[in-house]
Amino acid sequence: MGSNASIMLQQEDLQNICQQTGFTTKQVQRLYSRFKALDKRDCGFLIREDLLCIPEVNINPLGERLIDVIMEDYGENNKINFKQFIFLLAKFRGGKAKSLTTEFNTRESKLKFLFDMYDRNHDMKIDRRELLDVLKMMVGGNIHDDQIATIADHTIGELDDDGDKSITFEEFCNTLERIDADDKMSMKFLS
């Protein structure tokens, strides 16, 4: 499987990707084969349905939102090709200790991804409505809207520093400083 994939992938592309993202060649090849497996129609890019086919993503409360983010921020025209795919995943490569950080997998960029999960209108602010949307996804529909609204207000209150009832990226980062976002937003890529 791996060897098959590497044939499809241009050698210099591979080198390029490895250099930029910090993945090892093997990791990239493995991801490529994964990409191929997801791409059932074999057209070189993934569409929403491809990702939604993954059962875990399908049942995940934030799955749809995540795909939104992936498709809109990392892909184009509701498609994502392999290069975009691997740059997306490069954000979540672990290993800050070994000076393996690239521009992609800094803490900042990980938090940005989280931030983008909320901020769908790209105004660099999470406002109350955006927060409410996400909360509803995460909490489910059975809770009274008022209660969710209260939670949202509370959360905004916690994060909002300058009192404009919305959360800027800086506020988001500052307040989440205590959370080990760097570790929790990393995964081990098999090689």
Partner: protein, 891 residues
């Protein structure tokens, strides 16, 4: 301070001894008494002697602990375990001199230890085990617990056996198997000692859980090894066949997995039982404790690892039980667990010291030294090997410093000691030397390592535990990260621990929760998230309760509302003091808390108030632990006012957080129906649950207040709930209730007028109503709810501690109080912000988390004031001050 305390303890002890002698004599005389006559009073010590001794032990342990913690300096330098051992040594010495030590109840025997002392500690550890870090590090923990313990046992055993051939041990033969028995019991890290030490040094979660998890799980290994070698030693070295080894290896799996299985089964059964305890909530904590203990006893009975059983039982129960049982039961369970484990730990360490003083020793310098050295060396080597091995798959790698702390934290304790005590002297002739060496190792690790590990952690700058309040944003973000990472792992095809966790969660949600919980959770509903919210909500409620103890009314209904409940709960003497403090402390932003209380219905308030008292007495100290698995003793050890302050402050600003808008509607509804004033309102609200009664008063007065307040104020409702407030406004004119507000001012007006040139009619009305409350209706409430009175000392305490901690603000308070004319004009925001700006300092490291909360109320108020209600702002603040001053004069 400590001197005094120890003196007291000594005196107590002497009293006990004398008492004991006296009793003996008494019973002696009693037996000799010739004629059989009726005895009016009998002295029958033998009848109670054993239980009496135990109770005295518990008392002594508690007093010792209390005494130690009276001296901050002492507990700062020495771990509690050391102090307790020293105390035990002293007591042991006394008992030894008086020959009481021969009596059974006074020395540690392994049955007492394993059946009574150990289980509560382990249960508490399991129940409060931080699941997430535990399972995240499970691989490492298992590797260390199993392989590292094996490695240590083999190496230590071989080393001791090797040195037995040199002249160091005095040329006496040590046979190999007894060396290994000893190695098996000495190589296991002790959970009790680790807990006692690590909770005091506050290392980060990961490090803590790795060491502590190892110490918990290696129990299975050490028990198996111990049993294997022990029985091998009994069989005799020459009679061993291969079969024995195979069975030995097999028994490891049986013992460990069997323990886990029994624990989980009992845990599940316990959860299932609590599903049906709806009508007998008082029994809930007992059921939990009994099942856990039963799990322990059962597994001991079938000779599998009881420690593993009770640990897992606790972990399983914690997952589900708290959803089933009532809040009270939940808090009680937690509290009882902490209490039990705390006292058992105390007793264990005291017993350790006590049992050291006995005749059963045989000091062998060479042997002791070699043992200590090999323990240290192989611990370091083992950790170095296996931590590096673990790093191969760990996401977050263990650094060298981590490894150093891990190896240095390898403390030995009472388990090793008790195992040494139950060695069979006929089979292992070296028992006495083993016991001595074990004690030496335990003392060495507990004293030298235990005392130095704190400074070492500081010195090496080990990442400390982040003490965080359970903030909504943190919980939300954590959960989101989990979701995102799960998805991405699935997408990238690397089925890591995230998706495994997700699978567990799904299993949990689809099956376990369905079977074990009273209410089946809805699809995709995030219980944990809601739980966090509830917890925060509860804290806010609790804090409102606390602050309400002294919050003197600003003209806003907020303060008024709280103060009505305040009068229910506390004597008026502390009122003045604290109220001024608050008046000065409150930043400008929080003064008009109107929006909070406006939108918060009395119903809601009633609900919260129900838990107030309870939380106040039970949860308050326990709470931080619940979130971050501190042990209870830490919290008592932390006598810093800063945290107190932090809580207090942050909660002022959080006041309006626990709005449940759901109640808005009910509230408005209540208003509408209560057109004719307080009487009608009372009748509406008295339809609700029985405990509503005290709050009927508040509701009633609230109504009159609302009617009394100017329309301006009612404009200050948050824009978020405009709907309900429109309704409120419309209903206000109708609910105007003359009786309360018009009658009472007459009585009390003069005093207020004297002190205050600036009197706002609204404020006076409120004041007087509130006074009336204090004298009239509330006392009735107190009659029918005597527990309200019982919470008074708590209130006082809280108030006092805050007063003490907040001296800087106090100064300001006093200036405000003594000279109201100091601020002839309206109090500017600067006056308040002075106090406000100080808060980050008080809060220290917590400033970052709490600060945003403080800003919470800002936007509303600013908007209101700037746009429409500038004049009202000034009057408000004036009134705040007026109210504060009023508090003084009145009292």
């Amino acid at each position: 301070m400590y001197q005094n305390k120890s003196l007291v303890i000594l005196i107590l002890l002497l009293g006990l001894l004398i008492h004991k002698y006296y009793c003996k004599e008494q019973t002696y005389i009693h037996n000799q008494a010739k004629p059989l006559r009726f005895h009016v009073a009998e002295f029958n010590f033998d009848h109670v002697s054993d239980v009496y001794a135990i109770t005295l032990w518990i008392l002594l342990g508690s007093l010792a602990k209390v005494g130690f913690h009276l001296s901050y300096r002492l507990t700062e330098k020495f771990p509690e375990s050391c102090l307790l051992i020293i105390l035990g040594l002293i007591v042991g010495g006394l008992l030894y001199i008086t020959h009481l030590a021969e009596q059974k109840a006074y020395v540690l025997n392994s049955d007492t230890f394993f059946l009574f002392l150990l289980p509560p500690i382990i249960l508490e550890a399991g129940y409060f085990m931080p699941n997430r870090p535990f399972f995240d590090n499970l691989g490492t923990i298992l590797l260390l617990a199993i392989v590292n313990t094996l490695f240590n046992t083999v190496c230590i055993g071989l080393t001791i056996y090797g040195f037995a051939h040199t002249p160091i041990f005095g040329r006496t033969p040590f046979d190999m198997l007894s060396c290994f028995v000893f190695a098996a019991l000495i190589s296991a890290v002790d959970p009790v000692a680790v807990l006692a030490t690590f909770t005091e040094i506050h290392v980060n979660d990961m490090l803590y859980i790795v060491v502590f998890g190892e110490s918990l799980l290696n129990d299975a290994v050490s028990i198996v090894l111990y049993r294997i070698f022990d029985s091998f030693a009994k069989i005799g070295q020459q009679n061993l066949i291969l079969m024995d080894y195979v069975l030995g290896a097999l028994s490891f799996f049986v013992v460990s997995l069997g323990g886990v299985l029994i624990g989980i089964i009992f845990g599940v059964v316990a959860c299932f039982t609590t599903k049906f305890t709806e009508h007998t909530p008082v029994l809930e904590p007992l059921i939990i404790l009994v099942y856990a203990y039963l799990a322990y006893l059962t597994s001991e009975m079938v000779s599998v690892s009881g420690i593993l059983a009770i640990t897992f039982c606790g972990m399983v129960m914690k997952q589900y039980v708290s959803f089933n049982i009532s809040k009270k039961s939940d808090a009680t369970t937690e509290y009882v667990l902490k209490m039990l484990s705390s006292i058992m730990e105390t007793i264990i360490f005291m017993f350790m010291g006590l049992s050291t003083v006995s005749d059963n020793h045989s000091w062998n310098t060479g042997f002791v030294l070699i043992t200590i050295l090999s323990c240290l060396v192989f611990r370091v080597i083992g950790i170095a090997i296996f931590a590096n091995l673990a790093n191969c798959w760990r996401l977050l790698e263990l650094t060298r410093i981590d490894m150093l702390i891990m190896s240095y934290g390898g403390l030995r304790g009472a388990i090793a000691f008790s195992l040494a005590l139950i060695l069979d002297e006929t089979k292992i002739p070296r028992k006495k030397e083993f016991v001595t060496a074990t004690i030496a190792v335990v003392f060495f690790t507990v004293f030298i390592q235990g005392i130095t590990i704190g400074p070492l952690v500081k010195c090496l700058n080990v990442r400390r535990k982040q003490i965080e309040e359970p903030t909504m944003s943190a919980k939300l973000t954590n959960r989101m990260m989990d979701h995102v990472m799960t998805c991405l792992e699935e997408i990238s095809g690397s089925g890591g621990s995230n998706s495994l966790r997700d699978k567990c969660r799904n299993l949990d949600r689809n099956y376990f929760k369905r079977w074990l919980l009273r209410e089946t959770p809805q699809e995709k509903m995030d219980i944990k998230l809601l739980q966090t919210f509830k917890k925060i909500n509860m804290q806010s409620a609790m804090k409102v309760h606390d602050t309400s103890k002294g919050l003197v009314p600003t003209p806003s209904s907020a303060a008024f509302h709280t103060s009505t409940s305040a009068t229910n709960l506390r004597p008026s003497s502390t009122f003045a003091n604290f109220s001024q403090l608050l008046a000065a402390n409150l930043p400008e932003q929080t003064v008009p808390d109107l929006m909070f209380f406006e939108s918060q219905g009395p119903d809601h308030y009633r609900d919260d108030a129900q838990m107030h008292h309870f939380l106040d007495t039970n949860l308050y100290r326990a709470k931080p632990r619940a979130a971050i698995h501190l042990r209870s003793q830490d919290e008592t050890a932390e006598t810093n006012n800063e945290s107190q302050n932090r809580f207090e402050k942050s909660y002022h600003h959080r006041n309006h957080i626990f709005i449940s808008s759901r109640h808005d509607k009910e509230q408005t509804h209540g208003r509408k129906t209560g057109k004719t004033g307080s009487g009608a309102t009372r009748s509406t609200s008295s339809k609700s649950a029985s405990s509503a009664q005290p709050f009927n008063n508040s509701q009633a007065t609230r109504h009159s207040l609302v009617s009394a307040t100017t329309p301006k104020e009612s404009l200050k409702v948050p824009p978020t709930s405009t709907n309900t407030h429109k309704q409120q406004q419309s209903s206000k004119p109708r609910s105007r209730s003359p009786p309360l507000s018009s009658d009472q001012p007459i009585k009390l007006l003069p005093t207020t007028k004297d002190t205050h040139p600036v009197i706002h009619p609204v404020s006076i009305v409120i004041e007087n109503e509130e006074d009336a409350k204090m004298m009239g209706g509330v006392t009735a409430a107190e009659h029918s709810f005597p527990w309200r009175r019982s919470s008074i000392p708590d209130g006082e305490q809280a108030t006092l501690s805050i007063t003490a901690g907040d001296s800087a603000n106090n100064a300001q308070t006093f200036s405000n109080r003594n000279d109201p004319n100091l601020h002839p004009g309206p109090l500017t925001s600067a006056n308040f912000s002075g106090a406000y700006n100080k808060s980050p300092e008080y809060m220290g490291e917590f400033a970052t988390t709490t600060k945003p909360e403080e800003h919470l109320s800002r936007p509303h108020i600013r908007d209101f004031f700037n746009n429409q209600l500038r004049p009202s702002d000034e009057t408000q603040e004036n009134n705040a001050e007026a109210a504060a001053n009023d508090g003084v004069t009145r009292l």
